[in-house]
């Protein structure tokens, strides 16, 4: 029993003794289902309609752009790439956040990820879809999009962009779907015989006879581990290849060795911030404060700031390598002191210094503070993408003045529609699926879903169940039980 005591000491944490495990799981289920069970209120409808209106406006703007040409979006020969490609990078970038929270935290056995995984994965799926959709306004002839399959040029970075994004989207979908299987079964059971036809089709058929037995759990775990392992290099590849759409040209400011990691880190950074925003929104909207605590936000905040520091390091590394030799300083001057300086310094202050300060100062290191910081991170990272895209695109390669890009109502509306589509799609989506992965929550337990509980403790729970015959609902309860057992002997 000494072993058990050691484990107990290692994981010594405060436990709310008054809670019983099963009651807690009931509460989890209630909260997770709150988005589905309860009829949406006025605020929900108001928000959804408002967002829907923005999306409709975006579609109208896109139709206008199709009819009048991309000139109506402010493009010209001297700024041939601008806002839409920045949108593509930004949206697909934040999608990466889902992979981080879910896959990396899953692989590293972070039990506190449990209440976040579903929201993060859903966000990943939604944003990669939106980001992929932004390729269409970016193209001059979206009607010919399939030419990329019919007449592929393997030496083009864009072909590999297409492959990488497509593969990543499929992986994200599977990664989103697999943890849904137990939930689907649960909902199917819960609805019982009252099921409408579509519900039967949707929930029953997608749950594949899930009963939650050991073999099924084992298969699900194994599948999730493999997909988690796969989705990380896939996301890295997506952002590397996206960066190579720039870095494989000879344009000063784009032809940079640092670009692939630069883009990957930017994606992780903005993605983590986006997870915070989505989690914060749903936490407030569906009153999930009990399950998603300040601790979750501070952890995400630490992660975000760490990534932010790597990102600004890469930014400076990029600027100084080209700036020092002075061979091609035009775009650097434009970025740091020229017409893009406001945008660049906005990124530095709002996108880097602000989150560092927010996390560093104890008073602001809470859900509200980190949510505000995340908001600025996401915005400033979009601005940063524009700063990456525009100065090298508009620089004169032969002689003459710099080109310039001017926003028009078309490009602004379409971009806003993409932004609005994130909460819109998520809100609609969570009318049909639970907010938490019930399986993940049950596995993590009450304590584990908030604090990190080591695998030792979880093994302990299993040992207890098998040899001592003590049923533990959650590993969090293991410590108490152990204590009791030791004392009892």
């Amino acid at each position: 029993m000494t072993v058990i005591e050691k484990t107990y000491e290692a994981d010594a944490v405060e436990v709310n003794h008054s809670q019983s495990g099963n009651h807690w799981m009931d509460d989890v289920t209630d909260s997770a289902m709150s988005s589905m069970k309860n009829k949406p209120g006025k605020i929900w409808w108001l928000i959804v309609l408002l967002l829907g209106a923005v999306i409709v406006a975006g579609v109208v703007a896109w139709i206008y752009q199709l009819k009048h040409g991309m000139g109506s979006a402010g493009y010209n020969d001297r700024s041939f790439w601008a806002v839409y490609i920045a949108d593509v990078i930004t949206f697909i970038g934040v999608s990466y956040g889902g992979a981080v929270i879910s896959a990396i935290l899953r692989l590293t056995g972070q039990s506190w990820r449990a209440p976040l995984t579903r929201l993060a994965e859903a966000m990943a799926l939604v944003t990669v879809a939106i980001g992929g959709a932004f390729i269409f306004p970016h193209l001059g002839r979206p009607d010919r999009f399939l030419n990329i399959v019919v007449y592929p040029n393997f030496s083009s970075p864009l072909f590999w962009d297409f492959m990488a994004i497509l593969t990543y989207t499929v992986a994200t979908t599977i990664f989103f779907y697999l943890p849904l299987i137990p939930d689907m079964a649960f909902i199917s059971k819960m609805l019982g015989e009252k099921k409408k036809l579509w519900q039967r089709m949707f929930y029953s058929s997608l749950s594949f006879n899930w009963l939650g037995n050991e073999k099924q759990k084992k298969a699900l775990h194994r599948g999730l581990t493999i997909i988690s392992l796969l989705i990380i290099p896939l996301a890295v590849s997506v952002h590397s290849v996206l960066s190579w759409a720039f870095a494989l040209t000879s344009r000063p400011g784009w032809m940079e060795t640092v670009f692939p990691p630069y883009f990957v880190i930017a994606a992780l950074y903005s993605g983590t911030a986006m997870v915070v925003l989505v989690v914060a929104g749903f936490r407030k909207g569906y009153k999930l404060q009990r399950f998603i605590t300040d601790r979750h936000f501070t952890r995400l905040g630490y992660l975000m700031v760490a990534l932010g520091l790597v990102y600004i390091y890469l930014t400076l590394a990029d600027l100084i390598t080209e700036g020092y030799t002075g061979i091609t300083t035009g775009w650097i001057q434009q970025t740091v002191t020229g017409s893009y300086a406001p945008a660049f310094w906005f990124y530095v202050f709002a996108g880097e210094l602000l989150p560092i300060l927010v996390v560093a100062i104890k008073k602001t290191r809470n859900a509200t503070g980190i949510t505000i910081a995340s908001f600025f991170v996401v915005i400033s990272l979009w601005v940063k993408r524009l700063v990456i895209v525009l100065p090298p695109a508009t620089q004169p390669l032969i002689a003459g003045p710099w080109g310039s890009y001017h926003f028009t109502w078309v490009s602004i509306t379409i971009t806003l529609a993409g932004v609005a589509a994130i909460p819109f799609l998520l809100m609609i989506m969570f009318r049909f699926i639970p907010l938490f992965s019930l399986e993940d929550m049950e596995e993590a337990g009450e304590l584990g879903s908030i604090e990190q509980v080591s695998t030792h403790t979880q093994i302990l729970a299993r040992i207890l169940k098998k040899y001592v015959g003590v049923e533990v609902a959650a590993p969090a309860k293991a410590e108490m039980t152990v204590q009791a057992t030791v004392e009892g002997e």
Binding site: G140, R144, I148, S155
Partner: protein, 280 residues
């Protein structure tokens, strides 16, 4: 100061000395010719890239011609008649300067003019990055765009180091009704949402005519050339032996560090520095 008088030849030497620093974008025709082994000292290139390029290319005795161009900057007065002639022939908008004339500043501060058509690179970056093979290279060494296939991603515009590609941004341009459908050789009318660029007027050349810009130049600045027959002709009727002319006049190609191997050669004469990467 008499000793410091900069003439073109010793200026080129000065320029050549700084090449080591990697900033000078000059390669002389001589160096280029020295590497070649074909009859006239040319690299007889006729790489056809793109799956259907062969069917697209003008198949009229393809390897009988390898089109090239010489731009004798000594003659250019910056009148932009070439641009106007090109735009008229291809019904382009004012912004679409398939051949543009840049006002440049030489190393001692004087200005000179530099017409810039598509360089018809032998190693065209635009071709390599096109995801759908809409850009292809004909047997005659001309890089063309199939506007019927282009998806409008503009990756080629990003890749072109010569800023030579132009997009059709706006609908509502008044195009004439043409008796024949647009072809890569004669992309008229331009199609909305696709990329266009200088075609070298390859139809003209195959018909035994000068390109529009060369014909329209009142100064005889632009020579159309054929690397197979080694003939070059300008609007003044001057006929040159291309390889000899380039050799004797120390012709250079533009931005050789880009590894593009242009088919357009420049004859300098104003002490130019063709390094323009840093145009700010």
């Amino acid at each position: 100061m008499a000793e410091n008088k900069i003439n073109r030849r010793n200026f080129l030497k000065i320029v050549g000395a700084t090449t080591a620093a990697g900033t000078v974008e000059l390669i002389t025709y001589r160096a280029y010719a020295a590497s070649g082994s074909s009859p006239n000292g040319w690299n007889g290139t006729s790489g056809v890239s793109g799956s259907s390029a062969a069917s697209m290319a003008n198949t009229e005795s393809p390897t009988d011609h390898q089109w090239a161009m010489v731009i004798d900057l000594r003659n250019c007065n910056g009148c932009k008649a070439c641009t106007a002639a090109c735009q008229k022939a291809h019904y382009l908008t004012e912004d679409q300067t398939w051949i543009d004339v840049f006002s440049m500043t030489d190393s001692i501060g004087r200005s000179y003019f530099m017409p810039r058509p598509c360089m018809q690179c032998e190693n065209p970056p635009c071709l390599h990055v096109c995801p759908v093979h809409a850009t292809f290279r004909t047997d005659q060494g001309v890089v063309l765009v199939n506007q019927g296939r282009c998806i409008g991603c503009r990756m080629c515009m990003a890749a072109c180091p010569y800023q030579a590609r132009y997009f059709n941004w706006n609908a509502g341009v008044n195009y004439p009704s043409m008796p024949i459908k647009p072809t890569p050789e004669m992309p008229v009318p331009q199609r909305l949402g696709t990329v266009g660029k200088c075609t070298f007027c390859v139809g003209n050349l195959n018909d035994g005519l000068l390109s529009e810009c060369a014909a329209g130049c009142p100064m005889g600045t632009i020579y159309n050339g054929d690397m197979i027959t080694d003939v070059g002709v300008n609007s003044m009727g001057n006929t040159i032996k291309l390889s000899e002319f380039l050799y004797e006049n120390d012709a250079v190609s533009f931005k050789p560090s880009q590894n593009t191997h242009p088919r357009v050669w420049y004859i300098l004469g104003h002490g130019q520095n063709l390094d323009t990467d840093d145009a700010s």
